[in-house]
Amino acid sequence: MSELALAWSNVILILAVVFSFAALLSWIERRLLGVWQDRYGPNRVGPFGLLQIAADAIKLLSKEDWVPPFSEKALFVLAPVIIAVTTLLAFAVVPVAPGIGVVDLNIGLLFFLAMSSLGVYSIVLGGWASNNKYSLLGGFRAAAQMLSYEVFMGLSLMGVVMLAGSFNLRDIVAAQEDLWFCIPQILGFITFTVAGIAEARRLPFDLPEAENELVAGFHTEYSSMKFGLFFIGEYVGVILISAMMVTLFFGGWLGPLLPPLMWFLLKTFIVIGFFILLRASLPRPRYDQLMAYAWKVMLPLTLVNLLVTGAIVLAWKS
């Protein structure tokens, strides 16, 4: 098999898995929420309600693809594409297992950060192009929220980089052979988790959508597959953040007995489950609380982590 064919098969495989997993996640999430809320969740279409995904897909595809006449049409159409593209691109650097992965970039971590911060354009532009007050408010919130949380998201990872001594994600995984970074980098782990949830706009940080005050926030005016793209984008985002957390803090594919791929998938799924548990249990903060939390708690914590890690690394190295 040529190298090119291998690369392409990698790309297609990962794309297919990510997409189908994102779709499956919509079912998994609802079932898990059901489990934690003493009910069933979707269980009537197909075995265990699995075909609910197909039903949803059919519904989304067959709905009227409506572009509001008052909207900024080009941007309106572009916005959902951006989010889907950027989150999928970020997947390129995720080291799934040895030999599985799209590219092995030296600056993989920076690429991930860059892509995830591009995603915010989708939300802001979508909210603005909708020309609707709820959408615009959602867009505003997204912009401020992403800006604030990205600041310490990057910083929180610097500890990991220092420990691993590389921006290459495969090197970072390899560096966790002995000890997963979630132990030495506990502060970095916590802050990255919080930032990751905020980046994925998941509850409790889903203020840009906040359906009980903003109708549906930035995607109020979206319907059919354009809404579907936002939807997929969100789930892909969840998978991405989970995968990154596994890579950066839980030793990626490393583990005994089971093949590396299985370890990666298992760890990722547990992290996703944790995200869903968050959604099931925590209320949404007020907007000012959200901002204060980022700037007054999380940012200082990250900086402290950076300083301490830096000092330890320096001391240990010297």
């Binding site: 489990v35 003493d38 009910r39 249990s281």
Partner: protein
């Protein structure tokens, strides 16, 4: 933070609880008798229509989904010549039942009224009228009202004195 974690733990533990969901179409729920479901018109213990077409239910209805027309039989008994409830508008608030002075209109535990065609949700008197007294047995409005109807002349109702003799001259 600690609170949040505690909450998450509590929620997580719910994984091991019994589900409260009743698998409705396969498993029938127990509906209490005072459930506010499909509306019916009942009959009095004599088997006559209880509704006297007073229009109070229509007036009480917040979505104005009750329309009727009063009429009278040859003896002066009031009844509705038509009585229509548009269930596609009904919000099952039960105000009509509360307003009804004769216990005629009642909400029942039946809620399985789904239709594919909205117009099938328009119920006429034939669809509403049942053969029994419903939730309130025993009450018969015309037995306490002053109006004379067939078989009940003036003075025959509950707690009524015989009609005054206009030609009696005694003081």
């Amino acid at each position: 933070m600690w609170n949040s974690l505690k909450t998450m733990w509590t929620i997580f533990l719910h994984m091991f609880r019994r589900r409260v969901t009743i698998q409705y179409p396969d498993e029938k729920p127990v509906i209490p008798p005072r459930w506010r479901g499909r509306i019916i018109l009942s009959r009095d213990p004599d088997g006559e229509e209880r509704c006297v077409a007073c229009y109070l239910c229509a007036a009480a209805c917040p979505v104005d989904c009750i329309a009727l027309q009063a009429t009278e039989d040859e003896y002066g008994r009031r009844y509705p010549s038509f009585f229509r409830i548009n269930f596609s508008r009904c919000i099952f608030c039960g105000y009509c039942e509360e307003a009804c002075p004769t216990d005629a209109i009642q909400l029942t535990p039946d809620f399985e009224m789904g239709e594919y065609d909205r117009k099938n949700l328009v119920y006429e008197k034939e669809d509403l009228l049942i053969d029994g007294t419903g939730k309130y047995p025993g009450y018969n409005f015309y037995r306490v009202a002053g109006l004379a109807i067939k078989g009940k002349d003036k003075g025959d109702a509950q707690d009524e004195a015989p009609p005054v003799d206009l030609h009696r001259l005694l003081p």
